[in-house]
Amino acid sequence: MKALEIKDLDKHFDSFKAVNGLNLVVEESEIHGFLGPNGAGKTTTLRMIMGLLEPDDGDILIYGKNNDSKDLDVLSRIGYMPERPSFPVHLTSRELLEIYGQTYGIPEEVREARASRLLNKVGLDNYADKRTGKFSKGMKQRLGIAQALISEPDLLVLDEPTAGLDPGGRARMRQIIKEIGKDDITMLISSHLLEEVEKICETVTMIDEGKSVLSGSVEELSHSKTVLQIELMEITSRIINALEDLPKVKEVIRVDDDKEEIKVIASDDEDYRPVVSKTIVDHGGTILKMTDRSRSLEDVYLEVIDGGPEDEQLR
């Protein structure tokens, strides 16, 4: 069964199309990454899922039910953590968890016990009775996760749970999310941190400029193709063009502005080293180093998302 299905979703702000014909499917029990660059429309989409913003057009089906009218039965199955969650500063974490729990009609003893357990789970037990106004960014993020779990939701929607955290905080958040994922729960996690998503998610949808550009399982996406990473004496457009003309080469990407290094992405996982190196040499290049590895999510991302700095270099 599909936990979430979005069809041809549109949303504009004034004349700007923030979401433009977006499609997304999240199957039950999967952990789904929702990827896209800044301003791609991730937060806007998640807000429409939660009934906080009204879509202009399209359908949002949650467990087969339409959430256009802010259906309360539908909302009661979802836990939501907004981007950089903000709490009323004068309430304590425990009070907030309790009050949020009460809005789901959870009995008092249950929600009290649950609040304590969740605060413990996210490492806030020492701050349970402190007002949230004094919380650090990381603590707010962790409280954000805890409050999203207070109703033991079937579907958990997290908007950039690791944004703004230091490396330690990020590792901790990943740990928390992985642990939650062990239960039978469906998750939709928005992020632009590819490594994060690669570590946590099973399936991904990538969006750009309000449209879905790719979706599939992380496994499938990153291992169906090979990437050759090549360091040259000097990159010339002759070499690039020649490589791009090779039959099975999908894309050639310059890795970094100040490095003479390119990535050659092939469309399947044969060994391309002989033919690629021959082409480079034939066109006057000198290879300093060549490595062969399977594709990471980042490679996929850079291929499909337009307008990345690496892309522009070569056009």
């Binding site: 939660m50 906080l52 789901y104």
Partner: protein
């Protein structure tokens, strides 16, 4: 989920929002500041007469000063409600509340109920404070009556008119600055207008009974020197529901005679610098009924519009 579960849930949700708003408000330093300002202004009423005019016992002082005045009523209202809707949009915390399975009506009404409760408690405090100080400064008070226990309730209702203005502006603009400036601006605008307009055109003063605020000024006239309410100065607008109600209960047959500015000589401008009871007047009973009705019209009307705007709102950071 059957319908009685749903109803239980709604009740639980109202309680949740009520508690949320209560804690959010009472723990805020702004609330304490506004409360102390209101106590200060109110205390001037109590302490200034003996300081300026010398000490005299006055057994009617409490009865004549049941109402702390429009400024206190408005300040308290704005103080508790300025961040209730707008502030949660500004900080982004509305996004969490609104993503729960709770309807926007329940959020709005739960908050409204909490504001009323806070104001009620504040006015109970004012009532006891005023009764205590009046007795202490002006001697034992006459005319005390059980109906006076309703004063805090009616004062809270008067404040709710301004709360409703403020929540409406908050739901509309999502800005607490606009909410405060707007509400205070409307209050000042109407107060100034109510002071000036009747000066030039006495008949138009009646319009102010239909607007939030002080309304017209008048003097209670029973025609019986023994009546506890004879000669009391009173206003007829929504801010004065409480004293209108109490004086009406003490003597239902009373009339209000509206003060008019006695014009002096048109050439010299001399001899007319006072407001005196004029020809126009109302029965106290009709005035209470009208003021109660207008109070409810504003509370219900403005909040109805406020809820409509809130329901239509996109919920994101503003």
């Amino acid at each position: 989920m059957n319908s009685s579960d749903r109803r239980d849930d709604v009740w639980e949700q109202v309680k949740a929002v009520f508690r949320y708003e209560l804690l959010r408000n009472l723990r805020n330093k702004n609330f304490l500041v506004i409360f102390l300002i209101a106590v200060g202004i109110f205390s001037l009423n109590l302490f200034l007469p003996p300081i300026l005019d010398g000490f005299e016992t006055d057994p009617n002082f409490f009865l004549e000063n049941l109402n702390p005045g429009g400024l206190v009523i408005m300040i308290l209202a704005v103080g508790v409600s300025m961040k209730t809707i707008a502030g949660e949009f500004e900080s982004g915390s509305m996004e969490l509340l609104a993503s729960k399975p709770i309807s926007r009506d329940v959020i709005y009404l739960g908050k409204l109920a909490a504001l009323f409760a806070i104001l009620l408690v504040v006015y109970i405090f004012f009532f006891l404070y005023s009764l205590g100080t009046s007795t202490w400064i002006y001697g034992l008070q006459d005319g005390l009556s059980l109906v006076m226990l309703a004063v805090p309730f009616f004062l809270a209702l008067s404040s709710m008119v301004w709360v409703s203005v403020s929540l409406f502006l908050g739901a509309w603009t999502k800005s607490s600055v606009v909410t405060v400036l707007g509400t205070v601006g409307i209050f000042i605008g109407l107060s100034v207008a109510a002071g000036i307009v009747p000066y030039y055109s006495p008949m138009t003063g009646e319009a102010f009974n239909y607007l939030p605020g002080e309304g017209e000024s008048g003097e209670l006239a029973v025609g019986d020197e023994d009546s506890p309410v004879e000669g009391i100065m009173i206003n007829t607008g929504t801010d004065h529901l409480s004293d209108l109600f109490v004086t009406y209960s003490l003597d239902p047959e009373t009339n209000i005679s509206i003060l008019e500015h006695e014009r002096g000589c048109p050439v010299t401008g001399m001899g007319g610098e006072e407001f005196v009871p004029g020809d126009r007047g109302y029965t106290l009973s009709s005035s209470v009924a009208r003021t109660l009705m207008m109070t409810m019209v504003y509370i219900i009307g403005l909040n109805y519009l406020g809820i409509l705007l809130f329901k239509k709102s996109s919920i994101m950071r503003h």
